[in-house]
């Protein structure tokens, strides 16, 4: 068996049992990255750094001082600032930016001994649902439609590079970030596990901001176990982030137990009406699996759901318009000079930002403008509060909610909707969780008629990550997705 076919936790076992060395493992991934450049999963590869880290890991393993993720090669979404390694956020405007500091999330992973293979591709400033807005070109999903092997599929976005890297076995796992579904939607599109934790569980320090009140880091992995290991390593209370939660991070992996007996599972009307046939079938399977495990199903209603998408597309661009003001060509990044300061701004930003980013800056600027603020931003904040309350009320009656992660499976690059609003509909099942600051996990649960993966999403109350991992593990066991893939 090829080393790159191992899961993260399997590779950890293999290293600790000296079945292979960290250097061998890392080389296998570097070779695969070389051979699969066409996926465009990485913006920056760091083979030298990776081999150096792997060497140190081998010494530690030999010395018996291995850390929790010792020698495990992973990819870092190019949104996390990495000291001395170019960090672009998928944008031309940061095309030459090399941070002099390390994000807390990547620092935690380094401290745990992981090996960094490179920086993964992403939608520009995490704005996109198909990884088509990256200034470094689209990412191609390693998945192919049955009977149409030449059609290029999107891996989802914005963490498309992170998803393709794991699905294509160019990394054991990757970091990702989720502002409106950017972890869960690519996870669903590429047959991976992806969790967006409770807002504040992972520090945002050193993570290039898109929409500060919604952004959360999380992992993309092959299995629930892998996700548990990644998240417990990434998460930490951080004094450098005022919105970081001052809670201790549990050992999710050690406590993982796929037991759903007595679990109250909510099925929300608003997430299940008008589903297409594939999604409907998948949801029913999920219900059946959980019921078979002893869970009970409760039909609930979250009446604010239909307002979530418009609310999200007011709040996220509003924050982004302000967060992205710093990219002005004055101190770092791309600079295109002009005759005046205003011209310098206009030239640098016009040249440095892509169309989708410019669109969202415009929307965000508009909704915050004098005369429009009350009608848009303020109203959106009020609706956001109602959405949060809606979830709180629902979680008095049920333990978790089960929904499809996305309305459809991955689409082809050439079928991509050109209308931005149609594109935004991709996030319809995922944005609610970000608005409410709740954790959500996507678990690969089956294949559609075209042989493409579909994901089921579990949503839980504040800080219910352990519960989500446990229920996700039950779904994972029942779906037996890895066997389904092997039969392809």
């Amino acid at each position: 068996m090829s080393l790159t076919n191992l899961t993260l936790t399997e590779a950890r076992e293999a290293l600790l049992n000296k079945k292979c060395s960290a250097t061998e493992l890392t080389r296998s991934f570097l070779d695969r990255m070389d051979a699969n450049r066409d996926l465009n999963a990485y913006i920056t590869e760091t083979p030298d750094l990776a081999l150096k880290q792997a060497q140190e890991s081998d010494q530690r393993i030999a010395a018996g001082t291995a850390r929790p993720m010792e020698g495990l090669p992973i990819g870092i979404k190019d949104l996390f600032c990495t000291k001395g390694v170019r960090t672009t956020a998928g944008s031309k405007i940061l095309g030459n930016f090399v941070p002099r500091y390390e994000s807390t999330v990547s620092q935690n992973l380094l401290d745990a001994g992981s090996v960094f293979l490179g920086k993964t591709n992403m939608d520009e400033f995490a704005m996109g649902s198909a990884n088509l807005t990256s200034a470094f070109g689209p990412v191609i999903s390693p998945w192919k439609k049955k009977g149409n092997p030449n059609q290029k599929l999107v891996p989802g976005g914005s963490s498309g590079g992170s998803a393709a890297a794991v699905a294509g076995r160019l990394a054991l796992a990757t970091t990702a970030s989720d502002t409106g579904g950017s972890i869960r939607q690519p996870a669903a599109f590429t047959g991976l596990v992806g969790i967006k934790p409770t807002y504040g569980l992972c520090s945002r320090y050193g993570m290039v901001a898109f929409a500060s009140s919604l952004d959360q880091a999380g992992p993309l992995t092959h299995t629930v176990k892998d996700a548990a290991l990644m998240l417990q390593t990434m998460a930490s209370y951080d004094k450098k982030d005022a919105t970081s939660l001052n809670v201790s991070v549990p050992d999710y992996l050690a406590s993982l137990s796929p037991n759903v007996k007595g679990l109250k599972v909510g099925i929300a009307k608003e997430y299940t009406d008008n589903l297409d046939e594939d999604a409907q079938k998948l949801l029913q399977k999920g219900i059946d699996w959980l019921t078979a495990g002893g869970a009970t199903i409760h039909h609930v209603s979250l009446k604010t759901t239909s307002y979530a998408l418009p609310t999200y597309y007011i709040i996220a661009p509003a924050e982004a318009s302000s967060n992205l003001a710093r990219y002005d060509g004055v101190r770092y990044g791309v600079r295109v000079d002009g005759k005046s300061l205003d011209e310098l701004y206009e030239n640098s930003r016009r040249h440095g930002f892509g169309e989708e980013v410019r669109r969202r800056i415009m929307i965000g600027t508009y909704v915050l403008s004098a005369g429009y603020y009350d009608a848009y931003y303020l109203k959106a904040q009020k609706v956001r509060k109602l959405i949060t309350q809606d979830f709180e009320n629902t979680f008095r009656d049920v333990d978790v909610l089960l929904t499809p992660t996305t309305p459809t499976a991955a689409f082809a690059i050439d079928e991509t909707p050109t209308d931005p609003v149609t594109m935004y509909l991709n996030d319809i099942f995922t944005v609610t969780v970000n608005l409410a600051g709740l954790p959500g996990i996507s678990v690969p649960s089956g294949l559609n008629q075209d042989g493409l993966p579909l994901g089921l999403q579990l949503i839980g109350p504040h800080l219910s990550e352990q519960l989500l991992f446990n229920v996700a593990a039950a779904l994972e066991d029942a779906a037996d997705f890895s066997t389904q893939i092997k039969s392809l």
């Binding site: 050193g206 290039v208 919105t243 302000s322 992205l324 710093r326 004055v330 101190r331 300061l341 915050l368």
Partner: protein, 496 residues
């Protein structure tokens, strides 16, 4: 100038009638703290450009603000010192605008929910009058960096040392009615802030900057359109800027014109204001709550603890000086204007061994305000760096009060004290300045002089009484001015 100020009602007389001046001040006071409002960078003034800059201050990607507790405590202290209400919940907002010395493209400030609401300052006007000026609010915000445009023909230089330094914006109600009141307001505010230690009040270094909103209206009418004069950095300039601006607006209004709402700059060189930008060019700041910061929640205990540690403020101190030491309001006001002066004054009073404390305190006040301040001005010395010990000033006053030296001789001793820093007692001995109070010595000299001046004595006795001063002069000269004047008077009268 075509206007005169009405002393009593603060109205301006124009050719078409009376006008009322309406002034509101926004004072930006730099918070005294070692590090900036949201970053750990130092706030040292005068460091080399761009040496006190963290990644956050430079607006680097992914950097996050974390509130500096010291700055919050200083704002609480200031709010309490200015009689405001400390809000247990306040919110930091982003004020968005592009400028080269604003690295993040937004200033973190407080818009809808400031840390302090209300409050007031009692300002001191001429002839001991006071007037209460209410405050609207005090909020915390970040300072921007500094742009320099005249070092290079086509580039501007940016120094980010100041970027992110904490400021308190202290906003008055539009209750100020003249440039004199505006100046008194800033002086009083500066004094209180310095007492509190929340702002060093150094206007030259930009630690205290004033934005002035000014408009004119007919007495009792609705508020007129205002102009804002930005960044006035001295009390004198504030007065000049207002004098100019009031006349400018008056002339426009009297000619039937209307005031344009705009931002103006004061040019100290020409002592005039000029337009910077009109309302049409005004920024739309797109304020919204900063999602990187949670609302600032203050526990009652925290506010209580700061309240318990409040220093005595100038008004209270002045009242106490007047009551305890019998000082005049004027003297007390002069002594309390700077906390260091007040401290020094009381140190000297405490060091005095004179039994009649009130009398000693009064004479010490006279000496401090007169000779000491005079010498300080002449020699360019501050109260903290006087060339003699405070107890020696007390000793000097004690020597006057116990009759060892006369007030006149004391001035010589003070000069020697300033030069040498030696104890006045020693100086009196060393220089032989001790007052001659021995009646036999004085009597001997008087007899000798009266014998020598038999002619004048005869003239005096025949009614030419103005000769008394002539004899005093001769006696004092003979005794090198050291004789006890009262004793000389007494004995001379007897002998004549």
């Amino acid at each position: 100038m075509s206007c005169t100020m009405s002393e009593t009602k603060n109205l301006v007389q124009g050719q078409t009638g009376l006008w009322e001046v309406v002034i509101g001040l926004e004072v930006h006071a730099q918070v005294v703290s070692k590090s900036k409002l949201f970053s750990g960078s130092s706030t040292d003034f005068g460091s080399d450009p761009n040496t006190q800059v963290s990644f956050l201050d430079a607006g680097m990607p992914g950097m996050l603000p974390v509130i500096n507790k010291v700055c919050v405590d200083q704002a609480i202290k200031t709010g309490l010192g200015l009689n405001g209400t400390i809000n247990d919940v306040s919110v930091f907002d982003r004020k968005n605008y592009f400028y080269a010395d604003l690295p993040t493209g937004y200033q973190i400030s407080q818009f809808t929910r400031p840390i302090v609401t209300g409050g007031y300052i009692d300002i001191d006007l001429e002839e001991g009058q006071t007037k209460r000026i209410n405050l609207t609010r005090i909020h915390l915000e970040q300072d921007a960096g500094k742009s320099t445009h005249d070092l290079h023909p086509s580039f501007s230089y940016i120094d980010l040392n100041r970027a992110g330094v904490a400021l308190m914006e202290i906003v008055s109600e539009p209750e100020i009615r003249s440039s004199a009141e505006a100046m008194a307001y800033v002086k009083k505010l500066r004094s209180i802030l310095r007492y509190l230690g929340s702002c060093d009040g150094n206007m030259e270094q930009g630690s205290l900057r004033v934005d002035v909103n000014v408009s004119l209206r007919r007495p009792g009418a609705e508020l007129g359109t205002r102009a804002e004069i930005k960044n006035v950095n001295s009390v004198r300039f504030l007065g000049q800027a207002l004098e100019y601006e009031i006349v400018r607006q008056l002339e426009i209004l009297e000619d039937g014109g209307s005031i344009v709402q705009e931002t103006r700059l004061f040019d100290p060189g020409k002592a005039e204001t000029r337009s910077l930008r009109s309302k049409e060019d005004a920024h739309d700041y797109r304020y919204f709550p900063d999602p990187d910061l949670r609302p600032l929640i203050l526990a009652k205990e925290r506010i209580q603890k700061i309240a318990e540690e409040m220093p005595e403020l100038p008004d209270a101190k002045r009242a106490r000086f007047m009551a305890d030491y019998g000082l005049t309001q004027y003297d007390a006001s002069v002594l309390v204007a700077e906390q260091e002066t007040a401290f020094y004054y009381e140190e000297v009073v405490k060091a005095s061994k004179e039994k009649d404390r009130r009398q000693a305190a009064k004479i010490i006040a006279n000496w401090l305000i007169g000779d000491v301040f005079g010498a300080m001005n002449r020699e360019n010395v501050t109260i903290q760096s006087l060339p003699f010990k405070s107890c020696h000033l007390a000793e000097l006053v004690d020597l006057i009060l116990d009759g060892t030296i006369s007030g006149k001789i004391a001035k010589d001793v003070f000069s020697a004290l300033w030069q040498s820093g030696k104890s006045p007692k020693d100086l009196v001995k060393e220089l032989g300045l001790q007052q001659i109070s021995d009646p036999s010595v004085i009597e001997g000299i008087i007899e000798q002089i009266l014998t020598e001046q038999a002619q004048k004595v005869a003239e005096y006795r025949s009614g030419k009484e103005q000769l008394f001063g002539f004899f005093i002069g001769l006696i004092m000269k003979a005794l090198q001015g050291k004789a006890n004047p009262a004793l000389v008077n007494e004995i001379l009268k007897k002998k004549l």
